[in-house]
């Protein structure tokens, strides 16, 4: 992976998470009615971190679940590599909840479309709000985030990666050349 530039470092990462937690709580007037749902893979770890932050602030239990949107993708037939199913794990009823959907990077919006369809198959949330760590633009669907860690204008040839301690060994947001691994 060739890193072109480093947008957020570990300290900035922490501060961004703290701000997102506060914004979510402010909008929903506390954590009473909310549930966090992270989109696998990185959205899961972001959801876990945000849940911890919110619990530190509110001192209340918070419901948290994870979505694997593979079965709802619109590009399953075109992908060359069959993605490994990790499974959806939401043990609570989403009906009536204010669900905060969490993902790492918002790009075309197709992942979010799939996640919305899956969530609605699971029940009828009171609202679904979208929190993303980075918004890089280039939407292909009419989807907008409610909470954004950082807006990062990019060209199509670039890729935004949210790195996380749990899988990548460090917390950071970086820009890499497309196709680089």
């Amino acid at each position: 992976m060739i890193i072109k530039s480093r947008i957020i470092d570990a300290q900035g990462f922490e501060r961004t998470l703290t701000r997102l937690a506060h914004e979510i709580l402010e909008r929903n007037k506390g954590s009473e009615t909310i549930a966090l749902v992270g989109i696998r893979t990185r959205g899961e770890f972001l959801a876990r971190r945000l849940a911890r932050k919110i619990q530190e602030i509110e001192h209340k239990e918070l419901q948290i679940g994870f979505l694997d949107i593979t079965l709802y993708r619109d590009d399953l037939r075109e992908r060359r590599n069959q993605p490994l199913l990790q499974g959806t794990d939401i043990k609570f009823d989403v009906t009536g909840k204010n669900v905060i959907l969490i993902d790492d990077v918002l790009y075309t919006g197709r992942t979010i479309r799939a996640a919305l369809d899956e969530l609605i198959d699971l029940g009828r949330p009171s609202t679904i709000q979208l929190a993303v760590f980075a918004d890089r633009g280039h939407r292909e669907l009419p989807i907008k985030a409610d909470f954004v860690g950082k807006n990062i204008p990019t060209s199509v040839g670039e890729e935004v990666r949210v790195l996380m301690e749990e899988i990548d060994g460090e917390d950071a947001v970086v820009i890499v050349e497309r196709g680089a691994n």
Partner: protein, 306 residues
Amino acid sequence: MPLASRHLLGLDGMPKDDIQLILDTAVSFREVLDRPIKKVPTLQGKTIANLFFESSTRTRTSFELAERRLSADVVNFSSDVSSVRKGETLKDTARNLEMMKIDMVVMRHSAAGAAHFLSQVVKANVINAGDGAHEHPTQALLDMYTMREKFGKLEGLNVCIVGDISHSRVALSNIYGLTAMGANVSVCGPKTLMPRNIEQLGVKVFYDIDAALRETDIVNVLRIQLERQERMLFPSLREYRQYFGITRERLEKAGRDIVIMHPGPINRDVELSADVADGNSSLILQQVLNGVAVRMSILYLLGTRT
């Protein structure tokens, strides 16, 4: 990694990793079955034909549910209504399916090797839903899923298959799959229903059910097909029950916890006594539920394999 083959014809020679992948993927579909809306859009636009040249209610229904829950379009052909009765060959049936743009074919046929033949003449993915006395891979996979769910692993598990081993595709697929996954497999039944040299498949052979039960964690009880009696392969149902029937007393005598499985439909009080079939250690209904998830897993893995 996708599955090695674009068809599911049998478990003979299937790589361990592929069996693992099917079972792991089925866990996600098992979750889907617990949702209020038990349907995902994954195979939208795919057409699947269920070709049943032998009657079957359970397997066909299970496949059809799995297909519909993946949002595929489904067409059913069964032997009593189809052109097979009118003398059409399998190859012609296959060619017709091809022209109808069928993406996947699920087939049950009385001839061993029929699914293999079909896979060579059509472009569609072929899933064997039972071919003669050869293989019934989806049944064995759902059996293995159910065992793994109960015991957490397959490796080292002691599984005894009881009944008509000679004519059983369920037995054969179970033997291939379970031995590949590192389970210890034994078979038990009357000598007349035991294939010669079955030991070569890596299984232990018992003719005494009580001895077999003393060494097993799971007993997979096969359905005794009543028509076999007419061919004098065993004297009477009463005698079969007396020597090989799985009863409460037999299980208690074995002195260990034994889990009961059966591919269905059960001949109550023949191969399995009714109280055992309905008892706490029976996984029979769990098998039916898991069957849908396992078939969804296979359809998904083959249908999205590019």
